[in-house]
Symmetry: C2
Subunit: 318 residues, 2 copies
DNA sequence: TAAAATCGTGAATAATTTTCATATATGCTT
DNA sequence: AAGCATATATGAAAATTATTCACGATTTTA
């Protein structure tokens, strides 16, 4: 019999076009999804997906079910917002510290959206730079930190958001463009263009340049577009999230290269005080980030890759 | 986490106002529903039902969830109709034999509704009386029988619809009105007004009068309203389903009495050929009957009272 | 053409849901 | 008011269902 679980799966499947990617999204194994889909097809006596090689496409029946899923899950979310109102958990503060500069790109539309649904929640961005953003949570100066911090800390909960790759950005025709993958040495010739934050907060420097013991020159600017503009006009090179430069790559305004054989990856978490972790509007905020980011951001991956059941179990034990 | 199962339960709960009745509707035990509700309340950290004595009422949160349930389950049903179209199972015949005369009352609106959703299905009523309606299925002269037949037969499937009580109907102020319960003897004085069908097809006669060995006088007429009119004008008494005379009782046009200490009950089944049992439009027809009857017909009960899991299991073994 | 990735499947395991067996509370009857 | 029938809650056991694991087949990629 059809359940919401199946609908959540179908949406992930529709968005990823792959069973294993969809499985990561919904925090299950590929096998679990394979079984789910089979059960659905058996139940409706209809093919839901069509396979040409490894590429999975939805059949008309599958598309119809996705349409249902979108409508239904939307209704569910809306209901859950109303329930929060009923339980008077609809008011509060959400002062956000953003460690990752580029994240403004996706956070802004989410904030707009959030404001419409939760008019009673004070939504703010905490500006300025902070060496220890999580401390702001403790001090009560902020309510949410979006950053890479994920070390377990007393009284703090880290929700995994996603993992993304940081790519080197070059002007089209740049000499390094001939290489498929850039190494630490490749960054010694050009000026490195970054946001104006301390060195230890720049992944490329902390994880690649410093360990390799090479030297570099740095120039900073506030805005992502400004960085890209400098790169394009050959004043230097940069390292930015893949999803942040997608459009510029498409227009061949700049080109991108992997950093190191495995690539340079960064994990993003959303951290809150423990007592805030179950707030309805916070949960909705998280859910919205998840939906929007995975739907719109290119090349990101779910954190906590395998099925999450084990992890939940471990969590409970604590 | 919320699942469709919970929504189905909530609708039943809303309509019955009782956990145990709702449990019967969804073919689960009272205990199962009790657990379900508890889980929901825990999940949302909100009371869903409020109890004043034995009467269960939904809280605002509960009502909001019911609203969701109605919308969502409607969408699901609509989707499933579309899937039937996709699988080209949307065309066929549904020639219905109706054993129970009064059932026209609820069947008509259902047929109208069905026609809108399944324009490609030829929907007809097979008229006339038939000593062995199920034989018509075999002969291919009909596709559906709605009646009391439920003996297992090769190649025929009986879907349980519901159980209802047959009440004696009297004119207001009738002498027998002073009794709470009527027995076989009470039917010897007055003319018994029935539909024009053979005696053995009238439950009162077959199950009460004949076993008691009493004699009776009978007069027949086609329409339920005509029967009631005759009763009201003191030309005789009748025995009709409780839900069929609800309105007339409310207006005190007639009065009703139980027949026998336990009451006289009748079970209704929908029978089809085995090969038709999984047809989508038939399943939808069944589902609609279920929904409409339990929502609108007064005093009916689900058949197969306990949780249905055991029965399903037994079925599979065969 | 080998290596890596993706998917399907049956069996094993884990998790969840349901039932069963009671306990408790309410309402009704005498 | 006492007793009985009915309705619900709850913990534990049982049943069912969902997920993972292990592995084979197939396809893509380098």
């Amino acid at each position: 019999m059809l359940e919401l679980r199946h609908l959540r799966t179908l949406i992930a499947l529709d968005e990823t076009g792959s069973i294993s990617l969809a499985a990561q999204r919904v925090h299950l194994t590929q096998s679990a999804l394979s079984h789910q889909i089979r059960a659905l097809q058996e139940y409706y006596q209809l093919p839901i997906i069509q396979r040409s090689g490894h590429v999975v496409r939805l059949t008309d029946a599958g598309k119809r079910l996705v349409k249902l899923a979108e409508k239904v899950l939307g209704e569910v979310q809306s209901t859950e917002r109303d329930l929060a109102k009923i339980s008077q958990q609809a008011a509060g503060n959400l002062r956000i510290v953003l460690e990752c500069h580029t994240c403004f790109d996706w956070l802004m539309p989410i904030m707009d959206n959030f404001r419409q649904h939760w008019p009673e929640v004070e939504l703010d961005l905490v500006s300025g730079f902070h060496s220890d953003p999580v401390a702001l949570l403790r001090q009560g100066a902020a309510d949410v930190v979006i950053g890479s911090e994920n070390k377990p800390q007393q009284g703090i909960v880290h929700f995994p958001l996603f993992r993304f790759e940081i790519l080197a950005v070059l002007a089209p025709g740049h000499a390094l463009g001939s290489k498929k993958v850039l190494e630490a040495d490749d960054f010694t010739q050009d000026v490195l263009i970054t946001y104006p934050v301390p060195e230890e907060r720049i992944d490329l420097i902390r994880q690649v340049l410093m360990p390799a013991g090479v030297s570099w020159q740095r120039r900073t600017t506030e805005l992502t577009v400004a960085i890209l503009q400098l790169v394009a006009s050959r004043r230097g090179i940069a390292a930015l999230p893949g999803w942040g430069i997608k459009n510029y790559l498409d227009y061949e305004y700049v080109i991108a290269r992997r950093i190191g054989a495995e690539g340079l990856w960064s994990d993003l978490y959303l951290s809150v005080r423990e007592q805030d972790a179950s707030l309805r509007y916070l949960q909705d905020f998280l859910k919205t980030i998840d939906q929007v980011c995975f739907a719109r951001l290119d090349g990101i991956r779910p954190l906590s890759v395998q099925g999450s059941r084990k992890k939940l179990k471990e969590k409970r034990k604590k």
